[in-house]
Amino acid sequence: MREHQPIRYVFIIGLFISLFLDGSISLIFSHLLYGKYILVPSITFAWLFFGMYFINRTNEHVEIWAAIAGLLFDLFYTGILGVYVIVFPIAIIIGRKLYRFLPMNIVTGLFSFAFNIALINVFAYGLNRLMNATNMAAGYFLIHAVIPTVLFNSVLFLILYVPIGVLFDRIE
Protein backbone atom coordinates (compact mmCIF):
# COMPACT_ATOMS: atom_id res chain seq x y z
CA MET A 1 0.00 0.00 0.00
CA ARG A 2 1.42 3.34 -1.06
CA GLU A 3 1.10 6.25 1.28
CA HIS A 4 2.09 9.83 0.85
CA GLN A 5 5.81 9.73 1.58
CA PRO A 6 7.64 13.04 1.35
CA ILE A 7 11.04 11.31 1.66
CA ARG A 8 10.44 9.71 -1.71
CA TYR A 9 10.01 13.05 -3.52
CA VAL A 10 12.97 14.57 -1.73
CA PHE A 11 15.12 11.60 -2.73
CA ILE A 12 14.11 11.71 -6.40
CA ILE A 13 14.41 15.49 -6.81
CA GLY A 14 17.75 15.42 -5.00
CA LEU A 15 18.93 12.66 -7.31
CA PHE A 16 18.27 14.79 -10.40
CA ILE A 17 19.86 17.86 -8.88
CA SER A 18 22.97 15.92 -7.88
CA LEU A 19 23.17 14.39 -11.36
CA PHE A 20 23.34 17.84 -12.95
CA LEU A 21 25.55 19.23 -10.19
CA ASP A 22 28.22 16.68 -11.13
CA GLY A 23 28.40 18.11 -14.64
CA SER A 24 28.22 21.76 -13.58
CA ILE A 25 30.93 21.40 -10.94
CA SER A 26 33.10 19.54 -13.44
CA LEU A 27 32.70 22.39 -15.93
CA ILE A 28 33.16 25.32 -13.57
CA PHE A 29 36.14 23.92 -11.65
CA SER A 30 37.60 21.97 -14.55
CA HIS A 31 40.98 23.73 -14.30
CA LEU A 32 41.27 22.46 -10.70
CA LEU A 33 39.63 19.05 -11.06
CA TYR A 34 41.02 17.90 -14.41
CA GLY A 35 44.65 18.93 -14.16
CA LYS A 36 47.58 16.61 -13.60
CA TYR A 37 45.59 14.63 -11.05
CA ILE A 38 42.00 13.95 -12.04
CA LEU A 39 39.40 14.44 -9.30
CA VAL A 40 35.98 13.39 -10.56
CA PRO A 41 33.06 14.50 -8.35
CA SER A 42 30.54 11.67 -7.81
CA ILE A 43 27.71 13.48 -6.05
CA THR A 44 25.13 11.35 -7.87
CA PHE A 45 26.54 8.18 -6.39
CA ALA A 46 27.00 9.81 -2.99
CA TRP A 47 23.29 10.71 -2.98
CA LEU A 48 22.30 7.15 -3.96
CA PHE A 49 24.60 5.77 -1.29
CA PHE A 50 23.15 8.04 1.40
CA GLY A 51 19.67 7.00 0.28
CA MET A 52 20.63 3.35 0.69
CA TYR A 53 22.30 4.12 4.01
CA PHE A 54 19.81 6.34 5.79
CA ILE A 55 16.36 5.58 4.37
CA ASN A 56 15.31 2.42 6.21
CA ARG A 57 11.69 2.84 7.13
CA THR A 58 10.08 3.30 3.73
CA ASN A 59 11.92 0.51 1.87
CA GLU A 60 12.87 2.68 -1.11
CA HIS A 61 14.15 0.74 -4.15
CA VAL A 62 17.45 2.51 -4.45
CA GLU A 63 18.84 -0.05 -6.93
CA ILE A 64 16.19 0.87 -9.51
CA TRP A 65 16.83 4.57 -9.04
CA ALA A 66 20.55 3.82 -9.41
CA ALA A 67 19.85 2.17 -12.77
CA ILE A 68 17.75 5.16 -13.90
CA ALA A 69 20.42 7.64 -12.82
CA GLY A 70 23.02 5.49 -14.58
CA LEU A 71 20.97 5.49 -17.79
CA LEU A 72 20.64 9.29 -17.75
CA PHE A 73 24.36 9.56 -17.00
CA ASP A 74 25.20 7.39 -20.02
CA LEU A 75 22.75 9.21 -22.25
CA PHE A 76 23.63 12.79 -21.42
CA TYR A 77 27.26 12.73 -20.33
CA THR A 78 29.20 9.94 -22.04
CA GLY A 79 26.99 8.96 -24.99
CA ILE A 80 27.95 5.29 -24.54
CA LEU A 81 24.87 3.45 -23.28
CA GLY A 82 25.25 0.47 -20.96
CA VAL A 83 28.16 1.46 -18.70
CA TYR A 84 26.86 3.35 -15.67
CA VAL A 85 23.40 1.80 -16.01
CA ILE A 86 24.93 -1.46 -14.80
CA VAL A 87 27.78 -0.11 -12.65
CA PHE A 88 25.65 2.07 -10.33
CA PRO A 89 23.19 -0.70 -9.28
CA ILE A 90 26.05 -3.19 -8.76
CA ALA A 91 27.81 -0.70 -6.48
CA ILE A 92 24.59 -0.11 -4.51
CA ILE A 93 23.96 -3.86 -4.15
CA ILE A 94 27.51 -4.40 -2.87
CA GLY A 95 27.10 -1.39 -0.57
CA ARG A 96 23.93 -2.94 0.88
CA LYS A 97 25.70 -6.27 1.49
CA LEU A 98 28.54 -4.49 3.29
CA TYR A 99 25.97 -2.46 5.24
CA ARG A 100 24.40 -5.65 6.59
CA PHE A 101 27.77 -7.14 7.63
CA LEU A 102 29.39 -4.08 9.16
CA PRO A 103 28.25 -2.04 12.16
CA MET A 104 26.72 1.30 11.16
CA ASN A 105 28.96 4.24 11.89
CA ILE A 106 30.83 6.91 9.94
CA VAL A 107 34.08 4.91 9.64
CA THR A 108 32.54 1.79 8.15
CA GLY A 109 30.30 4.00 5.99
CA LEU A 110 33.35 5.83 4.67
CA PHE A 111 35.17 2.56 4.01
CA SER A 112 32.20 1.13 2.14
CA PHE A 113 31.73 4.36 0.12
CA ALA A 114 35.40 4.61 -0.84
CA PHE A 115 35.42 0.97 -1.90
CA ASN A 116 32.34 1.56 -4.05
CA ILE A 117 33.78 4.68 -5.71
CA ALA A 118 36.96 2.77 -6.61
CA LEU A 119 34.83 -0.08 -7.94
CA ILE A 120 32.69 2.23 -10.10
CA ASN A 121 35.70 3.94 -11.61
CA VAL A 122 37.66 0.77 -12.32
CA PHE A 123 34.65 -1.11 -13.68
CA ALA A 124 33.49 1.73 -15.94
CA TYR A 125 37.05 2.31 -17.17
CA GLY A 126 37.41 -1.43 -17.84
CA LEU A 127 34.26 -1.49 -19.98
CA ASN A 128 35.38 1.60 -21.92
CA ARG A 129 38.84 0.17 -22.44
CA LEU A 130 37.39 -3.15 -23.56
CA MET A 131 35.32 -1.41 -26.21
CA ASN A 132 38.27 0.77 -27.25
CA ALA A 133 36.48 3.99 -26.29
CA THR A 134 39.52 5.33 -24.45
CA ASN A 135 43.28 5.00 -24.82
CA MET A 136 44.33 6.07 -21.34
CA ALA A 137 46.88 3.60 -19.96
CA ALA A 138 45.77 1.50 -16.98
CA GLY A 139 48.76 2.41 -14.79
CA TYR A 140 48.27 6.12 -15.45
CA PHE A 141 44.55 5.79 -14.72
CA LEU A 142 45.14 4.07 -11.35
CA ILE A 143 47.69 6.55 -10.06
CA HIS A 144 46.46 9.82 -11.58
CA ALA A 145 42.70 9.21 -11.51
CA VAL A 146 41.44 6.46 -9.20
CA ILE A 147 43.41 7.30 -6.05
CA PRO A 148 42.81 11.10 -6.19
CA THR A 149 39.14 10.55 -7.06
CA VAL A 150 38.62 8.20 -4.11
CA LEU A 151 40.31 10.64 -1.71
CA PHE A 152 38.36 13.62 -3.08
CA ASN A 153 35.01 11.83 -2.81
CA SER A 154 35.84 10.58 0.69
CA VAL A 155 36.26 14.20 1.75
CA LEU A 156 32.91 15.03 0.11
CA PHE A 157 31.37 12.08 1.98
CA LEU A 158 32.67 13.31 5.33
CA ILE A 159 31.35 16.82 4.68
CA LEU A 160 27.90 15.62 3.57
CA TYR A 161 27.45 12.75 6.06
CA VAL A 162 25.95 14.71 8.94
CA PRO A 163 23.75 17.21 7.00
CA ILE A 164 22.20 14.59 4.73
CA GLY A 165 21.72 12.15 7.63
CA VAL A 166 19.88 14.83 9.59
CA LEU A 167 17.84 15.82 6.52
CA PHE A 168 16.67 12.26 5.83
CA ASP A 169 15.93 11.63 9.53
CA ARG A 170 13.84 14.80 9.84
CA ILE A 171 11.76 14.05 6.77
CA GLU A 172 11.21 10.42 7.71
Partner: protein
Protein backbone atom coordinates in the same frame (compact mmCIF):
# COMPACT_ATOMS: atom_id res chain seq x y z
CA UNK B 1 21.67 -23.57 4.35
CA UNK B 2 20.49 -20.91 1.94
CA UNK B 3 22.78 -20.30 -1.00
CA UNK B 4 24.41 -16.90 -1.21
CA UNK B 5 23.22 -16.50 -4.77
CA UNK B 6 20.75 -18.87 -6.33
CA UNK B 7 21.28 -20.20 -9.84
CA UNK B 8 18.53 -18.12 -11.34
CA UNK B 9 20.00 -14.93 -9.92
CA UNK B 10 23.36 -15.73 -11.52
CA UNK B 11 21.67 -16.38 -14.84
CA UNK B 12 19.79 -13.07 -14.71
CA UNK B 13 22.95 -11.19 -13.76
CA UNK B 14 24.95 -12.68 -16.63
CA UNK B 15 22.09 -12.00 -19.06
CA UNK B 16 21.91 -8.34 -17.98
CA UNK B 17 25.67 -8.03 -18.32
CA UNK B 18 25.63 -9.44 -21.87
CA UNK B 19 22.77 -7.11 -22.88
CA UNK B 20 24.77 -4.16 -21.53
CA UNK B 21 27.85 -5.22 -23.49
CA UNK B 22 25.65 -5.35 -26.59
CA UNK B 23 24.35 -1.84 -25.93
CA UNK B 24 27.88 -0.53 -25.40
CA UNK B 25 29.17 -1.95 -28.67
CA UNK B 26 26.15 -0.64 -30.58
CA UNK B 27 26.58 2.86 -29.18
CA UNK B 28 30.35 2.86 -29.81
CA UNK B 29 29.80 1.85 -33.43
CA UNK B 30 27.02 4.44 -33.81
CA UNK B 31 29.38 7.07 -32.53
CA UNK B 32 32.08 6.00 -35.00
CA UNK B 33 29.99 5.53 -38.12
CA UNK B 34 26.65 7.34 -38.02
CA UNK B 35 26.18 11.08 -38.29
CA UNK B 36 23.50 11.11 -35.57
CA UNK B 37 22.36 8.79 -32.76
CA UNK B 38 18.95 7.06 -33.08
CA UNK B 39 15.81 9.16 -32.61
CA UNK B 40 15.03 7.83 -29.11
CA UNK B 41 18.49 8.68 -27.85
CA UNK B 42 18.37 12.16 -29.38
CA UNK B 43 14.94 12.79 -27.89
CA UNK B 44 16.10 11.63 -24.43
CA UNK B 45 19.18 13.80 -24.69
CA UNK B 46 17.09 16.85 -25.61
CA UNK B 47 14.78 16.32 -22.63
CA UNK B 48 17.68 15.79 -20.21
CA UNK B 49 19.49 18.75 -21.75
CA UNK B 50 16.55 21.05 -21.07
CA UNK B 51 16.20 19.65 -17.55
CA UNK B 52 19.90 20.31 -16.94
CA UNK B 53 19.31 24.06 -17.40
CA UNK B 54 17.73 24.07 -13.93
CA UNK B 55 21.18 23.52 -12.47
CA UNK B 56 23.55 24.57 -15.25
CA UNK B 57 22.12 28.05 -15.88
CA UNK B 58 22.27 29.27 -12.24
CA UNK B 59 25.70 27.66 -11.82
CA UNK B 60 27.02 29.34 -14.97
CA UNK B 61 25.60 32.72 -13.95
CA UNK B 62 27.25 32.46 -10.51
CA UNK B 63 30.50 31.69 -12.27
CA UNK B 64 29.92 34.61 -14.62
CA UNK B 65 29.31 36.95 -11.66
CA UNK B 66 32.57 35.80 -10.06
CA UNK B 67 34.42 36.56 -13.25
CA UNK B 68 32.76 39.95 -13.52
CA UNK B 69 34.07 40.95 -10.09
CA UNK B 70 37.47 39.67 -11.10
CA UNK B 71 37.32 41.74 -14.29
CA UNK B 72 36.34 44.85 -12.34
CA UNK B 73 39.49 44.56 -10.26
CA UNK B 74 41.66 44.13 -13.33
CA UNK B 75 40.00 46.95 -15.28
CA UNK B 76 42.52 49.70 -14.57
CA UNK B 77 45.54 47.65 -15.54
CA UNK B 78 43.84 46.37 -18.64
CA UNK B 79 42.73 49.84 -19.66
CA UNK B 80 46.33 51.08 -19.58
CA UNK B 81 47.40 48.22 -21.81
CA UNK B 82 44.53 48.60 -24.24
CA UNK B 83 45.06 52.34 -24.66
CA UNK B 84 48.40 51.62 -26.22
CA UNK B 85 46.79 49.25 -28.72
CA UNK B 86 43.86 51.49 -29.62
CA UNK B 87 46.16 53.81 -31.59
CA UNK B 88 46.94 51.15 -34.14
CA UNK B 89 43.57 49.45 -34.37
CA UNK B 90 41.91 51.83 -36.86
CA UNK B 91 44.82 51.58 -39.24
CA UNK B 92 44.76 47.79 -38.99
CA UNK B 93 41.01 47.72 -39.58
CA UNK B 94 41.21 49.81 -42.74
CA UNK B 95 44.06 47.72 -44.03
CA UNK B 96 42.14 44.53 -43.20
CA UNK B 97 39.16 45.79 -45.16
CA UNK B 98 41.31 46.64 -48.17
CA UNK B 99 42.99 43.24 -48.11
CA UNK B 100 39.63 41.49 -47.74
CA UNK B 101 38.15 43.26 -50.75
CA UNK B 102 41.27 42.63 -52.80
CA UNK B 103 41.14 38.97 -51.82
CA UNK B 104 37.49 38.74 -52.89
CA UNK B 105 38.31 40.38 -56.21
CA UNK B 106 41.20 38.03 -56.91
CA UNK B 107 39.06 35.04 -55.98
CA UNK B 108 36.38 36.19 -58.38
CA UNK B 109 38.92 36.51 -61.17
CA UNK B 110 40.26 33.03 -60.47
CA UNK B 111 36.68 31.72 -60.22
CA UNK B 112 37.22 30.28 -56.73
CA UNK B 113 33.95 30.15 -54.83
CA UNK B 114 35.33 29.61 -51.35
CA UNK B 115 38.83 29.08 -50.06
CA UNK B 116 40.21 26.70 -47.51
CA UNK B 117 40.05 29.34 -44.81
CA UNK B 118 36.35 30.29 -45.12
CA UNK B 119 33.91 29.19 -42.45
CA UNK B 120 30.59 30.01 -40.77
CA UNK B 121 30.84 30.37 -37.01
CA UNK B 122 28.14 29.02 -34.66
CA UNK B 123 28.54 30.47 -31.16
CA UNK B 124 27.52 28.12 -28.33
CA UNK B 125 27.74 28.01 -24.57
CA UNK B 126 29.20 25.11 -22.58
CA UNK B 127 26.47 23.54 -20.41
CA UNK B 128 28.19 20.78 -18.42
CA UNK B 129 31.33 18.71 -18.55
CA UNK B 130 31.31 14.90 -18.45
CA UNK B 131 32.26 13.88 -14.91
CA UNK B 132 34.55 11.09 -16.02
CA UNK B 133 38.31 10.65 -15.87
CA UNK B 134 38.88 9.33 -19.36
CA UNK B 135 36.25 11.10 -21.51
CA UNK B 136 37.44 14.66 -22.06
CA UNK B 137 33.99 15.77 -23.17
CA UNK B 138 31.54 18.53 -22.57
CA UNK B 139 28.01 19.37 -23.68
CA UNK B 140 27.18 22.60 -25.55
CA UNK B 141 23.77 24.19 -25.92
CA UNK B 142 23.52 24.17 -29.74
CA UNK B 143 22.49 21.17 -31.80
CA UNK B 144 21.37 20.20 -35.27
CA UNK B 145 18.63 22.83 -35.24
CA UNK B 146 21.36 25.49 -35.11
CA UNK B 147 23.32 23.81 -37.92
CA UNK B 148 25.85 21.83 -35.89
CA UNK B 149 27.03 18.66 -37.64
CA UNK B 150 29.22 15.81 -36.54
CA UNK B 151 33.03 16.21 -36.80
CA UNK B 152 32.92 20.01 -37.01
CA UNK B 153 35.85 21.74 -35.31
CA UNK B 154 35.31 23.65 -32.08
CA UNK B 155 37.28 26.77 -31.11
CA UNK B 156 37.82 28.17 -27.64
CA UNK B 157 38.96 31.68 -26.77
CA UNK B 158 42.52 31.10 -28.01
CA UNK B 159 42.36 28.41 -30.64
CA UNK B 160 41.34 24.91 -31.57
CA UNK B 161 39.99 22.86 -28.66
CA UNK B 162 38.06 19.91 -30.07
CA UNK B 163 35.53 18.32 -32.36
CA UNK B 164 31.80 17.58 -32.25
CA UNK B 165 31.22 13.86 -31.69
CA UNK B 166 27.49 13.62 -31.10
CA UNK B 167 24.68 15.86 -32.35
CA UNK B 168 21.20 16.08 -30.84
CA UNK B 169 18.47 18.54 -31.76
CA UNK B 170 19.19 21.11 -29.07
CA UNK B 171 22.59 20.13 -27.66
CA UNK B 172 25.70 18.30 -28.76
CA UNK B 173 28.77 16.68 -27.27
CA UNK B 174 32.26 18.01 -27.89
CA UNK B 175 35.42 16.01 -27.37
CA UNK B 176 38.66 17.85 -26.58
CA UNK B 177 41.70 17.39 -28.83
CA UNK B 178 43.46 15.75 -25.89
CA UNK B 179 41.30 12.69 -26.55
CA UNK B 180 43.00 10.75 -29.34
CA UNK B 181 41.29 7.38 -29.68
CA UNK B 182 42.18 5.55 -32.92
CA UNK B 183 38.69 5.80 -34.37
CA UNK B 184 38.34 9.55 -33.84
CA UNK B 185 38.74 12.10 -36.58
CA UNK B 186 42.34 13.41 -36.66
CA UNK B 187 43.20 17.08 -37.18
CA UNK B 188 45.45 17.90 -40.14
CA UNK B 189 47.93 20.61 -39.09
CA UNK B 190 50.92 22.49 -40.48
CA UNK B 191 53.96 23.83 -38.66
CA UNK B 192 55.51 26.97 -40.12
CA UNK B 193 59.14 27.91 -39.38
CA UNK B 194 60.71 31.36 -39.39
CA UNK B 195 61.58 31.13 -43.12
CA UNK B 196 57.94 30.55 -43.98
CA UNK B 197 58.41 26.90 -44.94
CA UNK B 198 55.61 24.59 -43.82
CA UNK B 199 55.43 20.95 -42.82
CA UNK B 200 52.09 19.10 -42.93
CA UNK B 201 51.09 16.37 -40.51
CA UNK B 202 48.27 15.12 -38.33
CA UNK B 203 47.77 15.24 -34.58
CA UNK B 204 47.97 11.60 -33.56
CA UNK B 205 48.76 11.59 -29.88
CA UNK B 206 48.59 13.38 -26.56
CA UNK B 207 51.15 13.34 -23.77
CA UNK B 208 49.06 13.34 -20.60
CA UNK B 209 52.00 14.06 -18.30
CA UNK B 210 52.98 17.34 -19.95
CA UNK B 211 49.65 18.17 -21.58
CA UNK B 212 51.18 18.46 -25.05
CA UNK B 213 49.85 17.28 -28.40
CA UNK B 214 52.03 15.03 -30.55
CA UNK B 215 52.42 15.25 -34.33
CA UNK B 216 54.31 12.16 -35.43
CA UNK B 217 55.58 10.41 -38.58
CA UNK B 218 56.98 13.52 -40.27
CA UNK B 219 59.38 12.78 -43.13
CA UNK B 220 60.90 16.08 -44.14
CA UNK B 221 64.19 17.91 -44.45
CA UNK B 222 62.66 21.23 -43.39
CA UNK B 223 63.90 22.21 -39.96
CA UNK B 224 61.19 23.04 -37.43
CA UNK B 225 62.34 24.79 -34.26
CA UNK B 226 60.88 25.30 -30.80
CA UNK B 227 58.30 28.13 -30.66
CA UNK B 228 57.32 27.77 -34.33
CA UNK B 229 53.57 28.20 -34.76
CA UNK B 230 51.22 25.34 -35.58
CA UNK B 231 47.80 25.78 -37.19
CA UNK B 232 45.30 23.67 -39.11
CA UNK B 233 46.05 23.35 -42.82
CA UNK B 234 42.53 22.97 -44.22
CA UNK B 235 43.23 19.64 -45.93
CA UNK B 236 40.89 16.71 -45.39
CA UNK B 237 37.73 18.67 -46.08
CA UNK B 238 36.39 19.13 -42.55
CA UNK B 239 38.61 21.63 -40.74
CA UNK B 240 39.10 25.11 -42.20
CA UNK B 241 42.60 26.45 -42.76
CA UNK B 242 44.41 28.75 -40.38
CA UNK B 243 42.97 27.88 -36.97
CA UNK B 244 45.63 28.31 -34.32
CA UNK B 245 46.58 25.11 -32.51
CA UNK B 246 49.68 25.98 -30.49
CA UNK B 247 53.43 26.40 -30.41
CA UNK B 248 56.11 23.75 -30.91
CA UNK B 249 57.52 22.82 -27.50
CA UNK B 250 59.92 20.02 -28.38
CA UNK B 251 61.30 18.45 -31.55
CA UNK B 252 62.50 14.85 -31.37
CA UNK B 253 62.73 11.79 -33.57
CA UNK B 254 60.45 8.79 -33.12
CA UNK B 255 61.48 5.51 -31.47
CA UNK B 256 63.30 4.24 -34.57
CA UNK B 257 65.11 7.51 -35.22
CA UNK B 258 63.78 7.87 -38.77
CA UNK B 259 60.89 10.33 -38.59
CA UNK B 260 60.48 13.66 -36.84
CA UNK B 261 58.05 14.05 -33.95
CA UNK B 262 56.75 17.42 -32.71
CA UNK B 263 55.33 18.18 -29.27
CA UNK B 264 52.86 21.07 -29.33
CA UNK B 265 51.99 23.23 -26.36
CA UNK B 266 48.39 24.45 -26.60
CA UNK B 267 47.27 27.80 -25.16
CA UNK B 268 46.20 27.44 -21.51
CA UNK B 269 42.46 27.77 -22.10
CA UNK B 270 41.69 24.10 -22.86
CA UNK B 271 40.30 23.41 -19.39
CA UNK B 272 38.46 26.65 -18.81
CA UNK B 273 35.57 26.84 -21.19
CA UNK B 274 32.57 29.11 -21.17
CA UNK B 275 31.72 30.13 -24.70
CA UNK B 276 32.91 28.15 -27.71
CA UNK B 277 32.59 28.54 -31.47
CA UNK B 278 31.61 25.64 -33.66
CA UNK B 279 33.13 26.09 -37.09
CA UNK B 280 31.24 25.08 -40.21
CA UNK B 281 33.55 24.95 -43.20
CA UNK B 282 31.93 26.39 -46.30
CA UNK B 283 32.50 24.27 -49.36
Amino acid sequence: MRKFFSNRKWLTAILIFIICLGFISVSVSTRNNKSMPPFIQRFGNDVVGIASWTVAVPANSVRHAGETVNNLINTYKENQKLKAQVETITATKVRDQAIQSENDQLKRELKIKSGLADYNPIVAEALVRTPSAWNDQFVINKGSSAGVKKNMSVLGAKGLIGRVIEVNNSNSKVELISNTVDTDNKFPVEATNSKGETVNGIINGYDRKTGQLIVGHLNTKIKIKVNDKVSTNGLGGITPKGIYVGKVAKVTTDDYGTATKLYIQTPASMNDLEVVTVVDKTS
